[in-house]
């Protein structure tokens, strides 16, 4: 005879749905594919991510505050440490903002040299992406092809500025007059090192060659396509909503490039196409970046022929005092829109410096895009957004 109590129990057991508890998976701050110290608190059900919460700030260095007690010339040394993969590009918008406030016009030659160097920075930044992204998908070999040529590009930047990662080359009104000369020499040589342009042309050939290499190794690879096509699709309107910029935005079909729309360097005098893709998936973000390398090579080669002769540095007072005012200047960095909002109360230091860094905005889409994705896709998507933690935390 079955007791009614037991029958009741068995009925309950049948009616209760089988459930697995969600697991909280802490990805980072020490993890191979978070590009530094990003932490993601993910709630996962097996391999499926229910939701994810990015935790940032492990690398906050307080640059905005530090800038308030430094002269404008000293701040350039800070800002090229924000997105260290493209150090030179960070300086442009800041120095242009200060020049706008101070009413100083940089020399034409300096502007062109800035353009060349910032395109070189773009190439080197995208080559880092070309090496790290396949690595995150498990392919180790493209890394060596891409990084080898990146080293040549960094050599060029080092030759001209003295620093591979942190050039600190821009001055208000121009660029640092003497590479390697310095104040110890009485007579300052005031130009780029000899052979810089010839070396750049050679390096650009090599960069194009390595782009073909990467095409062969990665672009047509069936497994890469299987991992990236249709994965992490960001529609154009979502990309705008979340404030994405740069290649991440252009891969979603929005052809917005500050080099065409609000340039602060003479981009109107060179011919280039804005790389745009329609799909908005990881593969498109990769393709757009590869295309941008080729476009940058085009720009650099044209710019070398157009660099005018003349001084590198405009006349600037020895102690630069910037009049009261405020300016927001933005620039197309390798990773997207990079802007500085400078408020001056008059004097040698800014009253306030707000940095609109690219990766911070680009990362803001993570909780939306990673919802209900698989753990392996998390890596593919995060890698395709191409962020640098120094750029996120400042």
């Amino acid at each position: 005879m079955t007791s009614p109590e037991l029958m009741h129990r068995s009925e309950v057991a049948v009616s209760v749905e089988l459930q697995t508890p969600d697991m909280t998976l802490n990805i980072g701050p020490q993890h191979p594919s978070t590009h530094g110290v990003l932490r993601l608190v993910a709630r996962v059900d097996g391999e499926r991510i229910r939701d994810v919460e990015p935790v940032i700030g492990y690398m906050h260095r307080g640059y905005e505050k530090l800038a308030e007690v430094r002269t404008y010339a000293q701040i350039t040394a800070l800002v090229n440490r924000i997105d260290w993969v493209a150090g030179f590009a960070n300086e442009i918008a800041f120095i242009r903002a200060v020049e706008t406030l101070a009413g100083i016009e940089p020399t034409e030659r300096a502007q062109w040299i800035r353009l060349i160097l910032s395109e070189l920075a773009r190439i080197s930044s995208h080559l880092v992406f070309m090496s790290s992204y396949p690595l995150e998908l498990g392919a180790t070999t493209p890394l060596f092809h891409a990084l080898r040529e990146r080293e040549r590009v960094l050599d060029l930047i080092e030759g001209a500025t003295g620093g591979r990662f942190h050039p600190n080359f821009n001055r208000v009104g121009g660029v640092k007059p003497a590479a390697g000369g310095g104040s110890t020499q009485k007579k300052v040589s005031s130009d780029l090192p000899a052979g810089f342009f010839a070396g750049t042309k050679l390096a650009m050939d090599n960069v194009l060659a390595v782009c073909d290499d990467i095409d062969n190794l990665v672009t047509g690879n069936e497994l890469i396509k299987a991992r990236t096509v249709g994965v992490g699709v960001i529609p154009g309107d979502k990309a705008i909503e979340y404030g994405l910029s740069g290649p991440n935005l252009r891969a979603s079909g929005v052809g917005f490039d500050l080099r065409k729309h609000e340039f602060i360097l003479p981009y109107d005098e060179v011919e280039f196409d804005v790389a745009v893709a329609e799909g908005g998936d990881c593969y498109d973000r990769y393709v757009v970046r590869l295309d941008e390398i080729r476009q940058s090579v085009r720009i650099v080669l044209q710019a070398i022929d157009k660099v005018p002769s003349g001084p590198l540095q405009a006349k600037v007072p020895r102690i630069l005092k910037v009049p009261q005012g405020q300016a927001y200047v933005r620039n197309e960095n390798p990773k997207g829109e990079f802007g500085y909002y400078v408020i001056s109360e008059g004097g040698r230091m800014p009253y306030r410096l707000k940095i609109r860094s690219t990766s911070f905005s680009n990362l803001s889409i993570l909780p939306w895009i990673l919802k209900d994705q698989l753990v392996p896709d998390l890596v593919a998507i995060m890698g395709s957004l191409d962020f640098v933690l120094g750029d996120v935390d400042r």
Partner: protein
């Protein structure tokens, strides 16, 4: 043979095979370092040992021995400690039935293929134990991925081998080699015999190799480890000697898989134009050469391709490889009956 002689005979064979396989694993590790390096425009190891860095695997091994022996807090200590040894011993046990010559085999079991596939599945258990006992979520995910993957790829591996068994008419590995050494066709006064690879097992061989790479958890099927996703999967918490054991087990398994594939499809220790009375002497070299070729292919794949996704891997196993392998068995059966 008396019991004492039998024990001595087996002991000598075991020691010889053990020594040969462990040094073979070191050679494969070195080959991986060097081949991978050259595929990536790197010199690879070149310092240790003086020339070509030949002593690098030994140096690595010594370094691992000096590392701190960690068992994480909260880990199931006993299972955690046992897992690597289970993996290594299961892999080593596969060499019991692999023939290196007509008489050079530790035990020529009648159910050789069955034993081989059964014993190599035990490594799955070791991996699962490691993943579970580590008390680490990455390890757990890695262990579960490994279990799912190894179960899925055990099937095509087995089914591909079944076709060979059907064709050879025996499960003994020695018998399978002899079946490949039989005269296939006589042209003039020449008796030509060909391995199963050329006797209609091309698809079977392809399935076997794909499944073998998946079974070995190597790129493009290395999701259980997947550094960029799971740091190191089920190996995350391992260090020192136990990590070395897993490492060694991985490379032993490569040799074992390559040796099985060579035996089933490439004729094992047999090669054309070698007189039969020389096979005992030349057999190990012939098998070694075939194994080296297959190992090179496995290494080549590793340094060329990215990693697939877990669901894509399952998809490939269940929707493509298993039906293909089943069809392969049917075809092998028809040929066996018809010819």
């Amino acid at each position: 043979m008396t019991t004492g002689l039998f024990a001595l005979d087996t002991a000598i064979k075991v020691v010889v095979v053990l020594a040969a396989m462990l040094s073979g694993a070191l050679v494969v590790i070195f080959a991986e370092l060097k081949i991978g390096a050259h595929m990536q425009h790197r010199p690879g190891p070149y310092y240790a040992g003086g020339r070509f860095g030949w002593a690098q695997p030994l140096a690595d091994g010594l370094k691992f021995l000096q590392k701190e022996d960690l068992v994480p807090n909260g880990a199931d200590s006993r299972v955690f400690r046992a897992a690597p040894y289970l993996v290594v011993s299961a892999t080593l046990a596969t060499f019991v039935v692999i023939p290196f010559g007509p008489d050079l085999v530790v035990r020529d079991l009648d159910l050789g293929v069955f034993y081989l596939l059964a014993i190599s599945s035990i490594t799955t258990l070791g991996v699962l134990m490691a993943g579970w006992a580590s008390a680490n979520k990455y390890s757990l995910i890695g262990g579960l991925r490994a279990a799912a993957q190894l179960i899925a790829y055990e099937l095509p591996l087995l089914l591909a081998a079944v076709a060979v068994v059907v064709q050879a008419g025996t499960m003994s590995l020695n018998g399978i080699v002899e079946a490949q050494a039989e005269t296939f066709i006589t042209v003039g006064s020449f008796d030509i015999s060909v391995p199963f690879l050329l006797k209609g097992q091309l698809i079977g061989f392809a399935i076997f190799m794909i499944a073998a790479v998946a079974e070995l958890s190597r790129i493009p099927f290395d999701m259980p480890i997947a550094e960029s996703e799971l740091t190191m999967g089920y190996l995350t918490e391992y260090s020192g000697i136990r990590f070395t054991m897993f490492f060694l087990g991985e490379y032993l398994a490569i040799i074992s898989m390559a040796a099985v594939a060579a035996t089933l499809y490439l004729g094992g220790y047999w090669a054309p134009f070698i007189p039969e009375n020389l096979l005992n002497a030349a057999g190990p070299l012939i098998l070694g050469a075939k194994v080296a070729l297959l190992v090179f292919i496995i290494i080549w794949i590793r340094w060329t391709w990215p990693r697939l996704r877990e669901d894509q891997l399952q998809d490939m196993a269940w929707r493509w490889l298993i039906p293909l392998a089943l069809a392969n068995i049917v075809i092998a059966g028809i040929f066996k009956v018809a010819f």
